[in-house]
Symmetry: C2
DNA sequence: CCTGTCCAGACTGTTGAACAATTTTCATAC
DNA sequence: GTATGAAAATTGTTCAACAGTCTGGACAGG
């Protein structure tokens, strides 16, 4: 337990170097949070495992204090879980987690889509994401399909024009990706839904948001059943 | 700037003492977060003011490191705002903040209410909150009215049976209370809505969630206009 | 008088070591 | 085999220090 292959960050510590010119001031803690988030949702950090402050701070070559800030960040995001005097653990999604996530998704995505204007900017994002997913599927890049799928649904939420709602949905997506990481069977989970996504955006573009919303609702119920089934299989024989 | 009358915490630092028997293990940082949160939403910590790490850690008699953990917590809640290398500031809600908050409220509360079962446990909570608000109004306790109002709407969201949705709404409520603190005119803001709340819960109990939802939507539009008006008046002549 | 430059002071970002309190481990005794 | 109890490991919190960044004012020039 506590095993992982996190590399140390850029050892030059003098300047807060921006590899990309954008995103001006990321603090060290935020950078590390991004890295650990990556590890968690990719499944390399197994849910339920304990993250030792000592071990991790050595591995990442940061001080314990900084690492604790990172933990706070990720805890608020729902990826890690605190236990008093016992430390942090990677969150372990349960069936009720999945049920709640999909309840929220139906609750938010369907109305957002139903009330959408077909020429809303986010609609183009949906179209782009759908085509990207399609391409990735043809290439067998299932991880790419998953990413595009997330982007597609994020775009649906953006139809509601509410930054707070989009933020909230981002968090939900994160938790969902944690579940996906647990299930390592991306083809089975994503392949059936690419075409449904396309149908949804096509209906929206055709000026039928109501129909799109109904398709989406059916999609979400079906996806929930798929995920729950896969989860039961995995948790049955780990 | 930096002024406030936060008292030092219990100076006995040996044990994590629980004044109330419940809530077993609150970390120091969480305790302090609660205290500062209180100061922020009560308006004693003015929006826009700078919170110096040095000053505050002296005043609260905690180390800078612990205080930084507190800041992280409250930043994620939306009550504080970070600026790189400049420190934390109390968040300053803008008009677009208010607009977004009410958009989210309509988006979540109305459907939650419309689909509710009249005998849902949360419905009793709504009734209780409404009566509490009524009592407080009679006594002129406008702060109490505000608290009861928040509880009432939190109960509405609970009708949807989603922990994540309720958590999200809690955050939105926090931000809204920050706005209220900015407006110091609780009577004007809360008094008109007590009776509408009662009408909403009565309709729900009578088996008419649809009607309740419509009343609620009107309520929310009206409240938004009130708040925006008050905000414009305050920000015009501060 | 206004404007731009430069410097010192104040503050944040991060570190490493230290100690108290709590949990876990493990050897021992019944 | 289970209970006991002390040692080891881990977390919670503090302190002091230093590098990087921002702020405000002194100072020189137009």
């Amino acid at each position: 337990m506590g095993e992982n292959e996190l590399e140390a960050p850029n050892t030059k510590r003098s300047a807060r170097q921006n590899s990309n010119g954008v995103e001006p001031s990321l603090t060290l803690a935020e950078t590390l949070a991004g890295r650990i988030r990556e590890q968690v949702i990719s499944g390399r950090l197994v849910p339920g495992s304990h993250l030792s402050e000592q071990t991790l701070s050595d591995e990442l070559q940061v001080s314990r204090n900084t690492l604790r800030e990172v933990f706070r960040l990720l805890t608020k995001e729902g990826l890690l879980r605190y236990e008093a005097n016992r430390g942090v653990f990677v969150a372990t999604p349960s069936m009720s987690t999945i049920v709640d996530i999909y309840r929220v998704r139906r609750f938010i995505e369907c109305p957002a889509l139903a009330q959408a204007h077909p020429r809303h900017p986010a609609a183009s994002k949906m179209r782009i994401a759908v085509e990207a997913a399609h391409d990735c599927r043809d290439k067998g890049d299932w991880l790419g399909v998953g990413t595009a799928d997330i982007a597609f649904h994020a775009a649906i939420v953006e139809l509601a024009d509410s930054p707070r709602l989009s933020d909230f949905y981002r968090q939900i997506s994160l938790e969902l990706r944690l579940v996906f990481g647990l299930l390592h069977d991306p083809e089975f989970l994503h392949a059936p839904f690419v075409d449904q996504n396309r149908s949804i955006v096509t209906q929206l573009e055709a000026g039928n948001p109501q129909g799109a919303s109904e398709t989406l609702e059916a999609y979400l119920f079906q996806a929930e059943r798929f995920i729950l089934g896969a989860y039961a299989r995995v948790s049955g024989s780990p």
